[in-house]
Amino acid sequence: MREWEEGRKDREESRKRLLESLAMSIGNIGRGWKIYRRSLLAVLGLVMVLSVSLVAIFADEIAVQHPYRNLTDTEDKWSNNPDQQESPPFSEECSLRAQKITTNPNSPLFSETVVAESGNKVRESIALGYYTDVLSVTEIIKIESISPPGYDQDMSLITVDPNNSSIFVLSPELYGNSSYYAGVWITYLYENDEMSHWWMPEGYDTCIFGTNKEGHDVFSKVVYGARVSLTIGITVATLTVTIGTIVGSISGYYGGRVDEVIMRICDVFFAIPGLILAMAFVAAMRSVSSLTLPVWLGVLLPVLMLAYFLNAHLSTTILSGDNKVSDQAMGMLMKNRSLLVSVLAFLFFVGWLPAIAWSDFFGVSHSRGWRLTSSLVVIALLAAIILADRKFVQKNSMDGALERLSSSFDWTNPWRYLNFRTVVVFLSMAILFKLSGNEGSEIILIKDFDKLWQVQFALIFTGWPGYARLIRGQVLYVKEMAFVEAAKSVGAPPSRIMFRHILPNAWAPLLVAFTLDIGGTILSASGLSFLGLGAAPYTAEWGLMISESRVAFQRAPHMMLYPGLAIAITVLGFNLLGDGIRDVVDPKNRR
């Protein structure tokens, strides 16, 4: 074991390399930006995307009305506003209110002065009941009798208190006259603080996009809709890229039968038009109310990751000789015996052991330590099986293994471990540790699998084959390049070839597709919502808002105009951004 001081030079060296690669990435970004800003449209797209993102982030500050959450993860509820319905933008109707006034002096509700107050509004949670706001009256429009209905009355019957604009004063004429005893409707304009914007000019500052059928401020809903749409777009695109990359690189790298099966599955997905496929998936997920995983299945991913990296490390250090040339050339682990061994080991250790250790088997509730130990045992056993396979079946030497193992860890140079592999290992360990504190036999991924989640999952299910095919093509293309063969010829292991040589050279088209796909996903999600298969009613989702506006779109077109414009701008922004990135990563434009 070296002393800390002895590793000083190595530390410096590694740090220098890290800084160099950092400088290089910064340089690359700078160069990319130079190419990017050549196109005016691309810059415009970036501005659009940034502004939509800013709107989404600061929705709470920008919007004037706010939704409340009803114990859901993604969906918002909006309380109905009975006063302003379908009022066009900037119109007087936006601050119009009709209030019923009791005029019968014998009624217990009667008072000579009446407070101008809003209709019933729902509190943060329905359980907390309703509340009303006190309004500040600016002008009384008309006074109507209730019985007989619809007759305009003298405006002087009710006046606003000169000291307090929120108080109506009833003239004795009104409550002295028995013909008014049924009460009157007073229609008045008030200062609608709730829908007014400080940054708009006087007179144009109220409900700038109008209100919808439920009386929600369309502007606020459009602003909050940015949040919903961007979340959907980015979540779906990220997950589809991840799944597609994993599946596609397996398919492209290993080829053969694996590739054949995966590509046939993709063909089936491609054979059904995307929207119809997504609709079918949404329907199929109707009854799922929360997304859970059995504990053993949730543990599987981190355990496999750790075992994989441990195995890769062990087989490059412990074994003096790698597997034989012919075996390696025959196609890695995926063939014959190795495959069988892995499947058996997988079923036995990864499936069965944690299931016992992690669930309350024999009615015993296990401690965190017990669970973690059992996971470590599984990882060690998995690695041991593969090592034993190498040693006894493939007859690799293990002489001096321990010595090599101890010398392979260089504790004196932490910089060396600043790489992707370490991140994955630590992430896996963190997940494992987090899960070990989990009570019960299921891991709850999404507690409330509401309709928006259903839409997102439907789009993920329909989206991954496209990426799988794209990444497969890229991997096949890069795999044939001479530098991959060169890496093989110096004995680089498959994981290194994949992560260091193939993927870094294959991801450029993926970035473009990712950006374009965010836009595409937003379009599809809004389309599903439009058809009534997406967001729950009254959610601030642009497609749904358009759908809800259909009943009155000839009467009040503003209800559909602005959400649609918002979709168009957002999607256009992402499409322009994607086009700009395409120019940047296009090898023709390098230098």
């Binding site: 030079k9 060296e13 000789g321 034989k324 392979s408 010829s489 110096v490 004995g491 290194r496 050279n505």
Partner: protein
Amino acid sequence: MSEKPLIEIRGMRKWFPIKEGMLSSVRSYVRAVDGVDLVINRGETLGVVGESGCGKTTLGRVLMGLIPITDGSVTYSGSDIRDIPNKEIRRKMQIVFQDPGGSMNPRISVRSIVGEPLQVNGISEGVELTRKVEELLESVGLKAEHMTRFPHEFSGGQKQRIALARALSLDPEFILLDEPTSALDVSVQAQVLNLLEQIQKERGLTFVFISHDLAVVRHISDRIAVMYLGKIVELADSDEIYRNPLHAYTKALISAIPSPDPDARSDQPPVEGDVPSPVDPPPGCAFGHRLQHPDWEKSTKMDLSLKEVSPGHWVQPCPCCTDEFDEDRDLPDWVRGE
């Protein structure tokens, strides 16, 4: 030169299956290498010449163990290459590729490219790696400060030097040079060839030099094997093969070398026809078939394995292409007189 050869190839075959769609089973094969016997001695340079598609690159890949052999065997200093652990082979046998740019990952620095063999084999890390890479770069005539640059910043010749440095990093005994100069300008070719010779002398390396350019091969090789359609048709010392080519294909190759002297142009007409497809090669002497030689029929019934005509000079004993054992046949004067 030691008694025991470094590499011995016996009856090497490499057939690539052609798939005819997903449901049908394999119907036919590309016979890239179809029965090659070859001995490579320690410290020598063996040139392998042939036109594109003749299987010389495949021969090299199989020889290196990069792709599995279909039939036959490759023996490396006494043991079958399939029995030697991969890591050991990689330390002893290295390869330099044809396209110097393509054989380097454009996203990693020269230090990582040259140091990768050392890294993946767990030989050195950190400062030590940097020092070794420095040494290697200097030994191929590059500077230490080139280490932090990226492949695209170099010229073709420099890239090939980097590739050579990578091949040398594990201190191998044997290097396969797969057309290392054909992507380079003529002026740079000579530099690289000289560097190769110098390094071979310094380190006592064994080379197999694959090329389609007979002139280049002759410059560097001790012996030359001429390949045609997956088979070796002639094998001899490089001077001997020039002075005394026996196979018609070798003659055609030699006469195809442009001569600087306009008066000494070859009378031999250029070879007609295309190289037959290796998917379904004609039986017997493939070159005779291409020439539509009247004696071709005869060759289909003969054993065409190489015969030693004179010491160290082997040739395919084919009635249509070889003027069999006839030492006095007419050769163009320019060939004789060099």
